[in-house]
Symmetry: C2
Subunit: 252 residues, 2 copies
């Protein structure tokens, strides 16, 4: 068993890995617009490396579905149609439900404490209106559970699915939080983990994900346009294109 079951191996210091992590973070932070074309040389230029590591990092992200390759051999951020959101919803319900079941059976006292802490921090951040911390802690809450399941392959696949939904969850963030989701669902999950009740933990996790992504699906049409209920603050236009913000290579 490799030391790090996650895809972001901190022991890997290769440029390829650094580029991969940078792109992943930029993706999660919503710094690519839907349908935006990403060229190898542009990424290489921004990060100050040659094409070689960029190629490998970008190709990996294509393999993971985070980017898509077009027939004319250019790489773009995929558009998110309503059908694709629903497909991802059902896959995430199945796999993250499974992970929650496993976590209920395997989570240690310390791991449950960490999960509970993340849940508290979500509430705190949301009451402050701190969206960045909110999203970060939501992710932390979920992955603390999935890591506690102790299933490295399952974890890797779930990470891949988040990578595909991530950019859009971010794009729709204000609406997403306004959706009917309070801390109650999370508390029920934690309770089930504590009680080692795998069936309930799985079911509650499925409901949580199902509600969230059904809501997101209703914001997407069939042509790949995402339509936020309220217009987004600035520079982010719906539809294709819009200029890319630069992203920096994380500190080494």
């Amino acid at each position: 068993m490799p030391r790090s079951p996650s895809t972001a191996d901190p022991a890997d210091t290769s440029l390829r890995q650094q580029v991969y992590v940078s792109l992943r973070e930029a993706l999660t932070a919503g710094r690519f617009a839907p349908g935006q074309k990403v060229t190898f040389r542009y990424v290489a230029g921004v990060l100050g490396v040659s094409l070689t590591p960029v190629r490998e990092a970008l190709r990996r992200l294509v393999a993971e579905g985070a980017f898509e390759m077009q027939p004319n051999r250019s790489v773009r951020l995929p558009l998110m149609t309503r059908a694709k959101v629903l497909e991802l919803r059902d896959m995430r319900m199945a796999l993250e439900g499974l992970a929650a079941e496993k976590a209920a059976l395997a989570a240690s006292r310390d791991q449950i404490a960490a999960i509970r802490r993340a849940a508290r921090e979500i509430v705190a951040a949301r009451s402050r209106g701190d969206g960045v911390t909110d999203r970060q802690k939501v992710r932390e809450f979920h992955f603390a559970i999935y890591a506690a399941a102790g299933q490295p392959t399952l974890l890797r696949v779930i990470e891949g699915l988040w990578l595909q939904t991530g950019p859009y969850m971010n794009l729709l963030y204000p609406d997403f939080v306004a959706s009917p989701r309070g801390p109650a669902g999370r508390l029920r999950i934690i309770e089930a983990l504590q009680a080692r009740d795998a069936a309930t933990a799985g079911r509650e996790m499925q409901q949580d994900i199902g509600r969230a992504l059904t809501y997101v699906a209703d914001l997407a049409d069939d042509t790949g346009n995402i339509a936020p209920a309220r217009p987004l603050p600035a520079r982010r236009r719906r539809g294709v294109a819009a200029g890319a913000d630069a992203f920096e290579l994380r500190a080494t």
Copy 2:
């Protein structure tokens, strides 16, 4: 939606893709031994290409979990422990069950006919003792169903999971067939698809996979050794290493 939802895009004529397909086939055919190290230059030499396309193809397979990268930065075929088989079993039950449900709702008359045909050919091949055709048709039967579900992302992830179990299913083939699996389960699946009974189709698919992989799990120990009930015909030793057979670049 890309023309080919599968990972093996026939329209892609790049060397990278050809190397990827070659490695994939060699993997599925069991031409790599568990734990066997695979060097870039060896693959490049056998296929008569430079390192560049080999790197990208092999890295993609690492990203898909078909190979694993060691801390000393060499690429190997992962060992298959009992725990990993069980993990893959549960993931496959969840996702292939989901795919069967979707297929029950979406499969066309023609698609169901193709599924039925594959099921018949499995029976025929098995009665002839034709293992190669048997395995091929089993794969065809399953993927005909998953393709009928019309969910490209789901299909891609399932293909990735098969790529991880494939080499070992092959290794254990004689035992696997001897396991208590007849055509009955497959017929029940087809019946459910025909009746558009999603719940039953999903449940039957889960049972089929659950039975098969539980059986395989019992043949694996915790150290990564696969122990066939009867010794395998020849040159294939259990445990680490054993020389690699060459594999050829498919006709272009």
